[in-house]
């Protein structure tokens, strides 16, 4: 009898354990299922769909027609696309350099023990929480060539005919860069400050004993210690700036003479204003690897640090 019961009990126990294990795994999947199904449907599926769309000629309300590589060959003759890429690169580079340099400078100013620094810090962050649309509206008014406050001040300081900022190609791009830098500086200042504050004080003390002045301390201690954060912020800034569109829409609508036409705006216009959906998709697809590479770089940098 004993000989019989033992294996049957074992089988029972095994079955029970298996059932338990199955329940365990199923339960785990229940936790991830809602979030991952949303992510899958709205992040992975659109990429596949984008690839398909880019090989079609699609204008609403007609159905999509497969046209092979036609959209891509059309791209080579799209001068506005080339121009928009160039403009975006100029904007991205300009706003990144200016914004990050300003953020670093401000962070260095804030990185000391003085009364009331918190007050400044709190207000410096405001541009980050203000939307691009609102920001652009404010600056549209500030830079207005007739009634804008800036041109008034310039006249007060003796400039006889200050420029019509947003009506000339070069100055319009400069304003765009300025606004990008304004937002970027506000966003990155607390990040750089936190990084600076984490540099051990003993490094500075040692440098002071060696007779290094403030500038040398910054160059040889602060800067190398926060280099990884700096690189990270550069990558982040590129990703953000490359997708700029709201500020342009409000401020210049791509003008004057397409001088502020940026890539996402071009894609949007082709797809939704001119109804060349297939072409818009092809444009998106071409930009994809580039941004993907930068994002990959960013993830690599941020995870390599931990």
């Amino acid at each position: 009898m004993k000989v019989e019961t033992v294996p049957s009990m074992n089988v029972k126990r095994k079955k029970k354990r298996e059932l338990h294990r199955f329940k365990d795994i199923a339960g785990s999947y229940l936790f991830i299922f809602p979030a991952l199904s949303l992510l899958f449907v709205f992040s992975i599926v659109p990429i596949i769909y984008l690839i398909w769309l880019s090989f079609t000629d699609y204008s609403l309300p007609n159905p999509a027609v497969f046209v092979g590589l036609e959209n891509f060959s059309r791209m080579l003759e799209d001068k506005l696309f080339m121009k928009s890429i160039w403009n975006t690169l100029v904007y991205t580079f300009g706003s990144m350099v200016l914004g990050l340099a300003a953020a670093l400078g401000i962070a260095v100013l804030l990185n000391r023990k003085l009364k009331g620094l918190r007050f400044f810090k709190v207000f410096y962050f405001l541009p980050t929480i203000t939307s691009e649309v609102i920001t652009a509206m404010i600056f549209l008014w500030v830079f207005d060539n007739n009634l804008g406050i800036l041109n008034y001040l310039l006249k007060v300081f003796g400039m006889e005919s200050p420029p019509a900022w947003l009506l000339q190609p070069t100055t319009a791009m400069l304003i765009l860069i300025f606004i990008g830098a304004w937002r970027g500086a506000a966003y990155n200042t607390p990040i750089f400050l936190a990084a600076l504050q984490s540099v051990p004080q003993s490094y500075y003390e040692a440098a002071r004993l060696d007779g290094a002045n403030a500038w040398k301390q910054f160059l040889h201690i602060s800067l190398p210690s926060i280099m990884h954060i700096l690189v990270y912020s550069m990558v982040m800034s590129v990703i953000g700036s490359f997708q700029v569109v709201a500020v342009v829409d409000i401020l210049t609508n791509g003008g004057p003479m397409d001088s502020t036409m940026v890539v996402i705006k071009h894609v949007w216009q082709q797809s939704f204003e001119f109804n060349y959906v297939g072409y818009g998709a092809a444009l998106s697809l071409v930009l994809f690897p580039f941004l993907l590479f930068i994002t990959w770089l960013q993830l690599k940098l941020s995870s390599g640090k931990e």
């Binding site: 100013l109 649309v133 500030v142 990040i191 949007w268």
Partner: protein, 283 residues
């Protein structure tokens, strides 16, 4: 020695004040314009502070424009999307941090991969997915809350950030709870969530902020004025009133205010979150 120090400090405060003017000046100018009349704005030389504060621009915005409705829409969209993100992302993060199941690492890699997708380039295919959404009307999900909320509700970033947070909770707490008879959901609900309030708050804040300030996606899917979010309504409003600067600035002030208030109320959380921003990633 002391004298040079005082001079140096004065110099630093001076620089800080100039920076403050650059960051805060535009807001002050926005507000000061909002309380002027159109006549005040035309005056030369311009007055920074108007001789009389005119609040009627704000009244006009509340009564005569589409902005209140857009406010309501933005509020619904941001709150619902935030709630979805906090709840669903934390559930998934709990599983990734605490449970063992086949394919866990591969699935987490997929989550990380979604963080790399530039949203600006997803607008075209997503629009047509919304349009062709099965089990819906001829226009699919276009012009609906579903389209405004769901596609960007759950973020890979939230799952990633919360998983990092959850991993730092000692495993012994889970084991003790299991001995006490808690199931997994109870562990998640009663132990992990309460211990990670700062992380959850950070996810909530950035979810809310990004939906409130989002421009391109609502511009694409909100077709009728009734479905405009605040950013889209502002743009339309600015086109409509063109040179009525006081009214436009009153609109901008009204739209900026909720985030500014939220920022000052939740000041410590913002500060805490930003220190971590540099090391965790983007929203």
């Amino acid at each position: 020695m002391k004298k040079t120090k005082i001079m140096k400090n004065t110099f630093i405060y001076g620089l800080l004040s100039i920076v403050l003017l650059i960051f805060l000046g535009p807001y002050i100018w926005m507000f000061m314009t909002a309380v002027k009349t159109q006549g005040d704005v035309m005056v030369w030389p311009p007055k920074i502070i108007p001789s009389e504060f005119h609040w009627e621009n704000f009244l006009k915005i509340w009564q005569e424009t589409n902005l209140p409705r857009a406010f309501f829409n933005s509020f619904i969209v941001s709150v619902v999307a935030t709630a979805i993100n906090v709840f669903l992302a934390s559930l998934a993060a709990f599983a990734f941090a605490r449970l063992k199941f086949p394919g866990r690492n591969k699935l987490f890699l997929m989550v990380l991969a979604t963080m790399m997708i530039p949203s600006g380039l997803m607008v075209v295919p997503l629009f047509f997915m919304m349009k062709n959404m099965p089990f819906s009307g001829p226009n699919g999900w276009l012009d609906s809350y579903s389209a405004l909320i769901l596609p960007f509700a759950v973020t890979g970033f939230a799952i990633f950030l919360l998983r990092q947070n959850f991993l730092s909770v000692p495993k012994e707490l889970d084991e003790q709870a299991t001995i006490d008879g808690c199931n997994k959901f109870q562990i998640y609900w009663k132990i992990i969530l309460p211990l990670n309030k700062p992380g959850l708050a950070l996810v909530a804040i950035f979810s809310f902020l990004s939906h409130w300030n989002e421009y391109l996606w609502p511009l694409t899917v909100a077709r009728s004025q009734e479905m405009y979010t605040i950013q889209i309504a502002l743009k339309a409003f600015q086109t409509q009133y063109n040179i009525d600067w006081p009214l436009i600035m009153a609109g901008a002030t009204t739209a900026a205010l909720p985030m500014i208030i939220l920022y000052f109320v939740l000041q410590p959380l913002f500060e805490q979150g930003l220190g971590g921003m540099g090391s965790t990633g983007k929203e």
